[in-house]
Structures are given as C-alpha cells and as structure tokens.
Symmetry: C2
Subunit: 737 residues, 2 copies
C-alpha cells in the first residue's frame, strides 16, 4: 500500500468516526484528491462507453443485478452488453460470461453489483482486462464501519494500480440519456433534458428520478457518487464542463474533501454554465447526521458559504429550490437585467408576485409610455396597463397574447412572469400555447405561474412542451428569476486575480522558525508585529523594553502618550491579566505601569516567561475593525472581517472569504457586514478609510497564503481613520500549526 | 345617506386612489366596521340557508348566472332553490320567478349575478322580501373607479336600511361543503375537509379551489370577500369561531380597514383554533399594486407584523406555506413539545430533515436508551438507532412499523417526520398504510415526507386517507411542525392584560389643551416633560430659565454639572441648531451656553418663539435606548423600541408592538432586538435594568392609549442604568393630531 503526503493536519480529525491511526485516516481523506489530479478522458467511459459488462448480472428479478441489466437493455443502450455471472449462460437474452476476462471484445465500463467480499477480485479482473472505468454499486464499504473502510482502501488500491476510474462504492449507478445508458437499479429511465445531476446520496437520487419520471424534469446525466472512493464532485464538474448536452449542473453535496480544488475547478466551470448545489449538514445536528451517514467530514458552514460564493456556485436552500432554479436555467435564456414584468388575469396573485420580486431583490419593470399606450389600446378600460399588467379575469388567450407580446418587446423589460388563474372563462390551454409561442419570439426569460392543479394541469403540460417552466406560486418563479439575474451579473464580472504585494518573506520565516525552534506555536504581539511589518502593515511606533528605564527612554523617543503591554510568549490574552495600560503621559506613569503589569503577569501566570513590556505610541481613536483568519480543513485559510469589539463578540456580525483574494472581494466583505453603515459614517461622521481596510485584508490574504503554517491570526483592532488617513494595526496574535 | 364619525384622519389618506372628498372617503373606510359591529346570527344564512334565490340565474351556459345555479344544484344544496329571471319560466328544471318578491316561500340567501346597474333594485326587493343575507357577485363597483364607488355606497345603504348582511360585491361567491352549498361560479365543488378559507382575491380563490379539486386539500367553508362593502375578515372570524366543521381558518388578506377590531376578535379566535394568514402588499411595490387593485389601504408592514403576532395570527410567507401549515393543523394533533424524531430509509434526506428542523427552531429528539435498544433489536446492524432513525434503503413496511411505533411511544418525542424514498425494494403503499395506522395509535403529529412523484403518488394518496399530510421535501414538513409547536406554546400562555398605572391625566390634558389652544401640534422637551412626569416617568431634575441669571440659579439649586437645551415651541430638533450644551460645570459655563444657544437658535430659525433654556441636571452615562410611537391608520398606536443613537438610525434595529400591551409583551420587545446582547452586557458589563425598560414601555403604552390625540412620541434617549438602578428619560417630543 502506497503512502501519500498528508495535507490535512491530523489534529483536525479527532472527531472523525473511523480513526484507525492518524496515518490511515489521512490516506482515506486524500484518495479522491490524488487520483482525480490525473484529469483524463477515462471519465468519458462512464457516459459514452461502447461496451458495458454487468458483473453480477442476475436472472432473479428481485436482485439488483437483474435490475441494472434490465435498465441497460430497456434503456436502449446501443453498444455491446455483457452480463457476467459464473452460474448462467444467458440472461435477458444476452450471452453471459463467467468472468470479465472471458468476454471476447474490449469492455469500456464495468458495473459491479456483487456482494462486497467478491468486489476486489472482480475489480482485479477488470484491471487485467484493461477496463478503464467501473461503477461499484455494491455496499459494505466505508459506510459499514472500520472493516468496510479497510475494504474500500483495498478496492481503491486495485483501481489505482490498474488505472481504473471508479464511481462508488455504495451507489445507485450512472445514467446518460443521450447515449442512452441507464446503469442504475432505479425504476425506469428518466426523460432526457439539459440538466446534469450528481448526488452524494443515492436514495435522494431515487426520489429525484421518481420526480423526473412524472415528467417535469429531464436529465442529460445522472450520477450517484456513493462513497466517492475515487470519482468525486470535482471530477464530474470537469467531465461535464464541456458536455454540450448539459446546460446546467446540479449537485447534492454532504461534504467536499478537497475544497480548494473544488473552488479552482468550479470557478472555471461556472463561467461556462451554472452550477447549483444543495449543501446539507449545514446546522450542528445536521453535521452530526452527516458524519454518521457516509463518514464525510463536513466543513464549517461559514467556509462553504464563502467558498461557494467565491467559486460562483449557486447555493439552493432546499431540493425544491434546486429544481426550481434548474428548470429556469435549463430551459430559458438568461435575463439581460433585473427589470421584471408580470402579466396576470388576477389582481391578488399580481400583488403576491410584486412582493416576491421585491423580496428577491428584483425590479418591477417600468413600462415605456409607448408600451402602456399600446396596452391600453388593446385591453379593456378596467385593465391595468402598468406593471403588473392585469388583463382581467375574463381575459381570453388573445388578450394574453397582445399583452405578452407588447411587454416582451419593451426594452425596459428583462423577463416576464405570466400568471394564469383558472377563472370561469379562462382558456387555459390556448393561453399556454400563446405564452409558449410568444416567448420564442424574444430572447428574454418567460416563466409560467399557472396557479391551481386540476383544470390547470393541461396548461402546464403545454407550457412544458415549449420549454416554459411553471411554478405553482409567484414566489418560486421570482426566486428562480433572481438566481438567473445574479448568475448573469456574476459571470459578466471579470475574474479578479488575488492581490500581490512585495513582502519580506525572509523576515517572517525567521520569526516563525525561531518560535518553532523554541517549541512555541503562539506568537504574541511583540513578534507578530515583526511579521505584519514585513508584509507592509501600518503599525504604531513601538519598542520592546526589558526594564522601566528602557520603557521610559522609548516613550521619550516616540513622544507621549504611550501604551504599555506585557510582552510574554506565554500570555496571549493580555487584557485578562491586566497586561495593558493606556494613555500614559509621563515618565512616572510609564514606571508605575511597567511595574504593575509585570507584577500582575507573574502573579496571574506563574512561571510565565516575561520579556518585559512593549511600549507603543498611543494612536488617536478611530473606528475599530477586526481581521482574523483560521484554517478550514476543506477550504484552507478563511479570512474574517467585522467591526471590532462588541460588534463581533455580541452581535456576531462578521463575514468570511477563502484566501487568496483580491481587492474586489475584500471590498465586498466590508460592504457585507450588517454594521457597514457605521463604517460609512452616521450623524455626519466622515466615512472610514475604505482603501486602507481593503489593503489590510489583501495583505492578510497574501500572508496566510504564503505561510500555510500560520493556522490562526487576529488583528484586533485595526484602527481605521477617516477616508485618506489610513489605518493602524494595534494588537495582533498568530498561532502556528 | 347617513354620515358616520370619522376615526381615521384624512391627512393619512392622500395616497388613496379614489379620493372624492375627505368625508366620502371616510365613509367608505368605515362601512364594514359600522355594520359588523352588530354581531348577529345573520352570517349563518350565508352558510346554512334553508332557501337560496339566484337573482340573474340564466339558461345560457356561458353566463355566470348559469354557473352559479348549476353549482348549487350539482353541489347538492338540500334546501329550496329559486332562479330569478324575468325572461324565463324555468331554468335547469327549476321554476323561475320574475323577481325575488314573486317567490312564494321565505328566502334566506340571495345570490346576485346581474349587471351592476340592476343591483340596487334587486337588493331593494330583497329587503322588501326580508332576505337576511346576500352575496353580490356582480362587478362594476369600487374596483371600477369613482362611479363604481358611488354605486357601492348606494348598495351598502340599501343593505343597511333593510338589515341585510352582504358579501361582495365583485366576488366569486360562497361555499359550505357540509350544508352542502356551492354558491360560486367556480368550476366544481371542492372536497370537504376541516379548513375554512377566506380570500380578498376571487381569482386566487379560483386557483385555490382548482388545487382542492386535485384532492390534496378539503374545505369546510370558502368565501371570496370581494370589495368587502359589508362582511369582512373580522365578521368571518367571528362566524367561524365556533363552527365545529372548521378546525383551522385561512385568510388571504390585502388590507384590513379596522385593524383594532381584527386584533380584538383574532386574539379570541386564535385561542380556539389556529388562524393562518397571507398578508400581501408587503413590499413597497406590492403595496402600490394593492391600491390599484381593490383600493384597500395597506397598513405598514411593521404594524401588520406586530398586530398578527400579538393577536396570535400565524403569518404564512406564501400561499404554498399557507396550505402546508393548514394541512398539518387540519389533520394532525398539536405536538406536546418541540422534540421531533425522523424515521427515514435514506441518509441524505435524513440530514436535510435534521438541518430543516434546526433551521425551524425545533429540537432533534433524543431517544431514550430503552427506545434505542428496542430499535437496535429490531433493525439490521447497519441501521442507525439514533435520531434520525435510518431503517436503511432495503426497509420493507414492517421495519418502518417497528421503528415508527417505538419512536412514537418514546416520551421524549413530540412529533415525527416519516421520510420514504422510492428505492428498489421500498413497499411504498404498504408503508403508507403502516404510517397511517401507527400514527392513529398516538396523539402526536406524524407528517409524511414521501419523496418523488411518479411511483410515490399512490403512497401519498393512501397517507391522505389516514389524514397524514405529505410534504415533497423535509424542509416544508419541518416548517409545518414548527408552526404547530409555536401555536401550541402561544395558546398555552395566559392572556396578559395591558399594564395599568395610576396617572395624572388632568395634568396631561392641561398641557395638550394649551398647546392646541395656541394652534401648536409639536410638543417639545419642556412641555413633554410635564406629560411624562404625570405618567410617572423618571426624569432628571430640570427647570425652564428665561434668562442666563435664572439658568445659573437653577444650576446652583440642582448642582453642577448641568445641561442646557433651547426651549422653543418652534424648534423640535434641538441639536440641529446647536441647541444643546452638555457638561456645564460653573456659572460662567452656564452663562456662555445660554447666550450661545439663544443666539444660534434665533439665527438658524428666524422668527422662532424662544422661551429660554431648559436647565437639566446632567445624569451619569448609561446605555441609551429609544422608545417611540406613531399611529398606524389600521392598528392605532404602534410603539417602537430599539437601542438609541446609531443602532436605530444606521442599523434599523427596532421592534414594534401595537399598544396597549402589558409587561410580558414589553419584555419580549426588548429581547427581540438584534442588539439585545448589548443590553445583557458584554465584556463583563452588568446587564441593563430590564424592569426599568419594561416599565417605561408600559407607561408609554398607557399614555398613548389614554390620549389618542398624541399621534407621535419619541423618548430618545432613555438612559438605562445597570440592574436595579433604573432609567431616566433625557429627551422627548410629541406630536398631536
């Protein structure tokens, strides 16, 4: 068994369920990463193989091996299909082979549905046969505890040895509706469509396929990822990136082992097509359920939030939301802007739509006077020609046609929601045809909101033929439009590179090495200063003084008033031990402070090494912000920004981004905190120096990227002055790995 | 035409679309209120009449008058049915009469579906005939502009003259599935069920009835309120309060003209059964759409939010949410507590459910050791016996039965969500029967989450037979359970009476009358002090000084330091004109401040009447909060609470309640602001005096209730000291109507 270099510190993994030994766990975690680093075209064999072997194909309709073979056959797979079963000559009219080695021609894809003890041998044979891709449906691996985990490692090693790409184990299988290929044991083949779907949960996959069978959703590709022993979300993103049949990629994610690679790939893919994901295990108890489920490590919510956002991945709040967005992205053009019109035959739902649009952050389009006039000329006098356009309860299809055509032609309209309530005279089906036809005349999104269920169903089915997604209530249509608008806006922004500054890395290296040599992982104010200085942070003049006399001399040099802080490698939280004295205005003040600080420090932390006191020039007051960093096991350095003091502590008003990032991202962080108005200035106060905060955030981003051994960092406070006057880092600490 | 006393000031109504004259508008607004004040049993005739006349019944199937008569007949109305049509002898096999006066027997309910010009005469004839209740379906009234409004007033006057209760005009009609009575022109009769539904939008009603026809929802009563010329939401709440057939009341509301009566009645009704409402026109543009729709006045969002909450009305976020909650309330018992268990055959959806429960504020139940043991004895070893209970993908119905029975029997479980994904071996229908049967053995809510659409549909239909509502995704089931838990908790709290203090009303009356006599509506600090003092507010010593010498004398009496503030009836925002000087520590300070303040005030506000300065003892610093009040046109006095200064202004961190209220409500307000941790104390600070804030809020509540002419009030800041040390109102202003 080969050993790999560990990228995740073992101390982070103590909560893990299957801790065998630190080394082992490390291996499990990086398997996917190691293999998928070889981006190759073997993934194609999962979706467009010329030949498929079903290892474990069965004649017993109760067995999964039967279901998989039957699905492949009934699904119309056009290539060669080889049942493998040592006890049968023929299954479902196809010649069966005792092992994969007995198959005469080449095999592009093996589907393995045999009891877990037999899987290693079968895979070994696949390797000997030269099979490039295998789906292991069989369960009994990592999800089944410690022994299962060992088995999974064995299987992965075989795959790696032979260069086989592997989906699963413990999964539902793979579908490609274009090939067509249905290598799952699900009930039936879902309708085709431009949506590619990957799921870490196979059962959720069955529910989703069952929804698809009802006709509302069509898939291009479907993958149940199972335990993700090899192929994971990142591989599929890459495989689907240029697939012309997949217009939108959906993912149900419980955990991502290599968050940084996910971000890197997703950043690229989301520029080409939307990626929408549900990330579960968000809450504390949810995360517990995840780890008892597939044993995946759930990254912290804040990290996922930041990472998805930075990578352009659209986060759906629920599976329902996921499909609501998918339908809009799959079947409708992106809106050129955020100004939405509503055409309705009912006032109440029009109001609901208006509320929903505003709630979703969209604009109610203002129609041009020409549009309003033309509407008025074609609608009864009681109708409303302003947006929402109310064609009235007795509107027939022709009135909808007039209104929709005029509204779509208005250059001030970027998208339309068409509401139809089934009133006495409503021509539901004709209206659906009209909406479908008129929508095709323009390249703006049109979403249906045909409300009801019984009479309205026929209309919804017609809309679907035209590729108009229907939402039962206006709120859901508005949410889908809002996601489209945001996606388009984000995609149109250039990719901003991370900021880069000249920095004295050697100076930092020296401090870190010294601390490490002394066995210290905590870097307090005095040393942290040197590090920040090397990265160009503005700091107040300051000097370490070993005696009261040195402190006075330093104060005289820099000028009063000064601050004294305890300097000790053993004391990180200085205020807790009375280790900080502010506003010292004379030599006597400094002497008293020095003695008091040192006395208290030795009393509160007996045995602490005391270097003396840091004398620091007292800076004028300003607005205090905090910049922090901690390392997320999945995504790496997570930089935090918030107002300092009570705002961060009591109000939890803080935002995160994964480093490295550039000034654009930093500026967004600053604007995102709830207390941002306080930085803009209230009651006539001038705004705080935005550029200085952006600069500080970017320097932290670079520092923690350059030195991965820094696992925590706190600058609290960074005192920010008014626009143009900069900022000063007053207090700081670091923790090393 | 009678004139009524106006309760809503006309200045509030300038945005109203149909302003005829101030007096007229006033009348329109209070019609509903005046009539429904006579709570009577005439409303029963709308739902259980012995005889119904359809005025405008038609033989032409294209006409609404045909649809209404056909619905009544086909709906199985058991009483006498009289078509009224001067041009026909017989319609749908029923004898027709030229007018309602020609009908031989008594008529309990008239349904009027004739062109609007004929409505007044028809209603007049109903009056002569002694008909107690009429539904006017005809449109062409208030919604049709100025002339329509005149017509509506005429119709209402006729109804009032004869004592006829009236639903509509411009509505879809009325349904009672128990009678059964379908007096609408909707397509078909919805299935019966324990849900009563009222809608201000008729079209939304058609959509809802169409949903019901598909079978998921059953109604007891359905009313389309139309223009609410007489019968409104409050009347229906009262009529349905004791209806045994209605277990839950749903309402779609665009605006409530008499919010205070709504609160009074809803407070009572929600103690008996849940009332769930969608209030639309929430956002700014939504509210615009409301006023162009039925011309109802949308109250401010904050007022509706506070009023619904105080009255126990559950606010649904969308129509979808409304029905999700309705189904749970209608068919399942209330949970005894908030500890929820999940039984699932799939890990992924189990995680989603766990996330959703936590997100909804519910607890993931901790199963008793006995339950876990029994589960382990009955489930395969790979199953999870902790909550969520994962019965595994190959679970048949019997495994669900075991698990569900054990979980429901656990005293630590208050409700259960049963998740079923359609996996290869899943017995969907048998499992649905099991869930239905086992749920009946306990009086805890069980909600289904059978996920999928095609294969799963049969299971959902079976669940429905057992009264188990099904939700397509766990998030929606969790939201429904959360609403049930909150409803139960709130219903179990006693009804707290408003606080009552002894107060010197005469003193307040005197100040108000004086201001009014002088034609002033703004009451500044100096006078507002007297008012607050009369209501027992703690205030710092203070005295009005007309000259610098008087100011010095006052300061000497009360002791330095003092504050000087400009005293002028024409200057409300004192700091804007440099009208406040703090921390004056000597006679010289006071003299300088006096002259400077008066000089600046006269310069900034030429012609302002200057009374001199208010000398006020400087109080020690504390935490500053704001208490305010403004009058909402629908709900009356809306009291606001927030942290003072930047928190209210820049962070909009403020909560509202409709006065009068008691200390319990006041305490809730304080805890509800986002910045509450700052009042609790951060960084070792002691908590602020909670009791003093509650006291001040209750005193404001009583003051603004006692004196309706106070339309605005601001105490900003109220300086609050630490626990037990009270609070002091530092600055205050009032505005009179």
């Amino acid at each position: 068994m080969r050993r790999f270099k560990c990228r995740v510190t073992v101390t982070r993994l103590t909560g893990y369920q299957y801790v065998l030994s630190p080394k082992r766990v490390t291996e499990v975690l990086i398997i996917g990463e190691q293999m998928s680093a070889q981006t190759d075209n073997r993934l194609d064999f999962f979706f467009r193989p010329s030949s498929v072997a079903v290892i474990g194909a069965s004649r017993d309709p109760e067995k999964l091996g039967y279901a998989v073979l039957a699905n492949l056959k009934e699904g119309g797979f056009p290539g060669a299909l080889y049942p493998v079963n040592p006890k049968a000559d023929e299954i479902l009219g196809l010649r069966a082979y005792p092992t994969v080695l007995d198959i005469p021609g080449p095999v592009d894809l093996a589907i393995i549905v045999i009891p877990y003890p037999l899987v290693p041998t079968a895979l070994e044979q696949c390797g000997q046969k030269g099979v490039p891709a295998a789906v292991v449906i069989s369960a009994g691996f990592r999800e089944a505890g410690r022994e299962g985990l060992e088995r999974e490692l064995e299987v992965v090693n075989i795959a790696r040895r032979y260069g086989i790409r592997l989906i699963g184990p413990n999964c539902l299988g793979v579908i490609d509706t274009n090939t067509p290929l249905n290598a799952t044991f699900a009930a039936g083949m879902p309708p085709g469509g431009p949506i590619a779907f990957m799921s870490q949960s196979g059962a959720l996959g069955t529910a989703v396929l069952d929804m698809a069978l009802a006709g509302r959703i069509g898939f291009s590709r479907f993958v149940s990822l199972g335990n993700k022993a090899d192929v994971n979300e990142v591989d599929l993103l890459e495989a689907w990136e240029d697939d012309p049949g997949s217009k939108v990629i959906l993912a149900y994610i419980e955990g991502l082992p290599d968050g940084q690679r996910f971000m890197e790939v997703a950043r690229r893919v989301t520029r080409k097509k939307p990626v929408v994901a549900v990330k579960s295990g968000v809450t504390r108890s949810g995360a517990r359920a995840v780890s008892s489920h597939t044993g995946s490590l759930a990254g912290s919510e804040a990290a996922y939030h930041a990472a998805f956002r930075q990578a352009g991945v659209i986060r759906a709040e629920s599976m329902e939301h996921l499909f609501d967005l998918a339908l809009a992205f799959a079947y409708q053009p992106l809106p050129p802007g955020d100004r939405i019109a509503v055409v309705t035959n009912a006032g109440g739902p029009g109001i609901l739509a208006t509320d929903a649009l505003e709630h979703a952050g969209l604009q109610l389009a203002r129609l041009r006077p020409e549009t309003v006039e033309a509407l008025m000329a074609n609608l009864p006098s009681a109708a409303s020609a302003a947006n929402p356009v109310d064609v009235l309860g007795d509107a027939l299809a022709d009135r909808y046609e007039h209104a929709l055509r005029l509204v779509l032609a208005d250059p001030g309209v970027d998208g339309v929601i068409v509401i139809v309530t089934p009133q006495a005279m409503t021509q539901i089906e004709e209206t659906a045809h009209v909406v479908g036809r008129v929508a095709r005349e323009h390249s703006k999104p049109v979403l249906g909101c045909f409300m009801g269920e019984s009479r309205i169903a026929a209309g919804i089915a017609i809309l679907q033929q035209y590729g108009i997604p229907n939402y039962p209530f206006p709120e859901r249509a508005a949410a889908a439009l809002a996601a489209m608008v945001r996606y388009r806006q984000e995609r149109e922004q250039p990719s901003y590179p991370p900021a880069h500054f000249e920095a004295d890395r050697a100076a930092v290296r020296k401090v870190l090495d010294e601390a490490r040599a002394q066995g210290r992982v905590s870097i307090g104010d005095a040393e942290a200063r040197a590090i920040l200085e090397a990265y160009g942070f503005p700091l107040p003049p300051s000097r370490l003084a070993a005696t009261p006399e040195e402190a006075i001399a330093a104060a005289e040099d820099m000028g009063y008033p000064v601050v004294l802080k305890i300097a000790s490698p053993d004391i990180l939280h200085k205020t807790d031990v009375g280790g900080v004295r502010l506003n010292l205005r004379s030599p006597a003040d400094v002497r008293d402070a020095f003695d008091l600080i040192v006395y208290r420090a030795t009393r509160y932390v007996p045995g602490a090494r005391i270097w003396g006191c840091l004398v620091q020039k007292m800076v004028p007051p300003g607005r205090e912000v905090l910049i922090g960093m901690s390392r997320d096991p999945q995504f790496g350095p997570l930089v935090a920004f918030g107002l300092g003091g009570i705002y961060v502590e009591a109000l939890k008003d803080v935002v995160f981004r994964v480093a490295p990032f550039g000034p654009e991202e930093a500026a967004e962080m600053i604007r995102e905190i709830r207390s941002y108005p306080l930085l803009e200035g209230v009651r006539g106060e001038p705004p705080a120096d935005h550029a200085a905060m952006v600069d500080a955030l970017c320097r932290v981003s670079q520092l923690v990227t350059d030195f991965p051994e820094i696992v925590e960092l706190d600058i609290n406070p960074l005192v920010v002055y008014e626009e143009g006057r900069g900022a000063v880092a007053l207090d700081m600490r670091l923790v090393l790995s």
